[in-house]
Subunit: 362 residues, 2 copies
């Protein structure tokens, strides 16, 4: 049996159960695919940045060539965009990969890794994969409890994750609280701030300032999957001091980020119009959804991201019933919130359709 | 210092030095980019499969959606193409990632991992990253010495890599020798056969037969980077028994393969014309290059892949001199072959230009 050859901790890992393609769901439920709306993965309802699509179309002709393993042009573009230097940027096959690189570089079996209850699932996945000791800190009001997280860090803690805004709750930590946390965290603990939804914030924290001022143990992780609408391409990045990016570059594969993604991401950086349209639509969607939840007397968590959690009673049942009506949302049972579903703010017609179907279930 | 926090073996890893974009080389050497030819990375000189380009163009409109994490359609297509079942296929961000997944699943620090001298560099990279004990078996006539590799395997050996055809030498092992090796290898050692250049072989080994017959510890690794011309997309796969693919699926990231790559790869599978054109051109190129090397009285290694190694005297010097003339090849010093360069078989005009410039150096 192969499992006797595999490393002992591998057998215990959950096999990831991928969501089936919309076409498959459609076939099973006898729905036409174009009648199904997916508000389950916090994707950009406006689609990819049109500038990115143009750049990617042009790049298709040279997909026989290996990508630029150093991400030369994209790192230059990001550096200019962020007011950093190219050596402050490390590119990943999605920001998921940056998380994995941090474990490769810093975490030995048994090392404590701190993260919040009800935050991004990949922290826990990687902790198990690398045999870290997960230290899961309870949330307070659906938000990271930074004081409790600081208290959970000891001299052996290698890594702490802060998702801000947090997925799946959509909450944020106050900027002052984050600054205070960063000023107190031990120098021997790597602080990874996951800012996948950063661009949706109206009053974002100045995370990169801490890096510019020379904090070597801080990394901010961002992505082109959300505001830029490039989730299918798998491209994210870390911003950190040059010593940190140097270490992460040692543990990544030479050609980890594909060429089309690099071309699309670079063009998306300059697509202010798409970013602004996305922000505007998202604000409108969250406002509408919150208003409707209030009318329906449903508890919800005010969101700073592009999705919103609502307490519907039986999350799994409501998820199933909505799916049969062609509306895919995310049940929150896996996050110990069995009464909740998470819904992405879609286009306004999508948001209205979701509310209509939800009302029918009541 | 961060390096005191990083795991001790990380500091010793070499930072990967990426090749600079052609545009940068052009600027430095004051050459026009379109006058530079790159015969350094075994890319397809005919470009990507046109059918793949058409499919990828169509897929660009939905890059805001996450890829199908299960690779449903591509695994179905591959299964049909290979005469296997979808559960026999695991997809990777390039076949490089399949190599990394094997280490994640099977290799603990100190475990012996066997591979041949002068074979694909990523085996050694991963062995160091995962703190394996590398057991490097000398080559015989530039070819894997399978008897010596078998003898190097002991009861603790977790993993053995066989690159067939081998990169960078272009040699293959005889089919009978491979069958014999597979019949003798211990059941507790995972055998990874790297078949990145498999489709260039005229008389390929029937590797998948062994899997069909139930050999659980065998995995064949293939790629869309070479014959299909999709190196920029990063997509490769492993073919193995369902128990093996199940383990590897546990250690991969949920969305490791991008959506454009999945669409392009599926279309490329059906592009027989592009595959045949590529094979024909490659045969013609290898024949031409070999003939010219003979005329020039240069030793070369007869190749079964899409590149060829030639002994030019000072490999690094010839590489530098050719690059100044706008022809990029690969020096072999890193493989302890300092007198050699490796050149990809290009289009016939590219091959002739390479020979012309090489003759000028003589």
């Amino acid at each position: 049996m192969l499992k006797d050859i595999a490393l002992p901790h591998i057998a215990g890992l959950a096999v990831y159960e991928p969501g089936r393609p919309i076409e498959e769901v459609a076939r099973e439920l006898r729905l036409r695919p174009e009648t199904i709306i997916k508000l389950a993965s916090n994707e950009n309802p406006l689609g990819p940045s049109p500038k990115a699509v143009t750049a990617m179309r042009r790049a298709l002709a040279t997909t026989h060539l290996y990508p630029d393993g150093g991400g030369f042009y994209l790192r230059q573009g990001l550096a200019k965009h962020l007011g950093m230097r190219p050596e402050n940027i490390v590119l990943g096959n999605g920001s998921n990969e940056i998380i994995e690189l941090l474990f490769h570089a810093f975490v030995a079996p048994g090392d404590p890794v701190v993260y919040a209850e009800r935050s991004f699932a990949v922290y826990a996945l990687c902790a198990r994969l690398f045999q870290a000791q997960p230290v899961v800190v309870p949330a307070k009001d659906h938000t990271h409890d930074l004081d409790a997280m600081l208290a959970a860090i000891n001299g052996r803690t290698k890594l702490v994750f802060i998702a801000n805004p947090n997925n799946p709750t959509g909450t944020r930590v106050p900027n002052e609280a984050l600054d205070r946390f960063l000023s107190r965290v031990p120098a021997r603990t790597i602080v990874a701030i996951d800012e996948a939804y950063y661009e949706f914030l109206d009053d974002p924290p100045q995370t990169l300032r801490h890096i510019q001022r020379g904090m070597p143990n801080l990394i901010a992780m961002r992505t082109f999957s959300k505001i830029a609408g490039l989730a299918g391409l798998r491209i994210g990045y870390g911003v950190a001091g040059a010593e940190m990016t140097g270490l992460l570059n040692k543990v990544r594969q030479p050609f980890n980020v594909n060429a089309i993604a690099q071309a699309g991401a670079l063009a998306a950086l300059g697509d202010r119009a798409h970013i602004e349209r996305t922000r505007r639509l998202n604000r409108q969607g969250l406002k509408y959804l919150g208003g409707e939840f209030r009318k329906m007397k449903l508890e919800f968590i005010p969101s700073e991201a592009n999705f919103i959690c609502v307490r519907v009673g039986g999350g799994a049942e409501v998820f199933g019933a909505l799916q049969r009506r062609g509306v895919i949302v995310r049940p929150m049972g896996g996050y110990a919130m069995p009464e909740w579903v998470r819904v992405t703010a879609g286009t306004m017609p999508e948001n209205r359709r979701f509310i209509r179907e939800l009302r029918r279930l009541a």
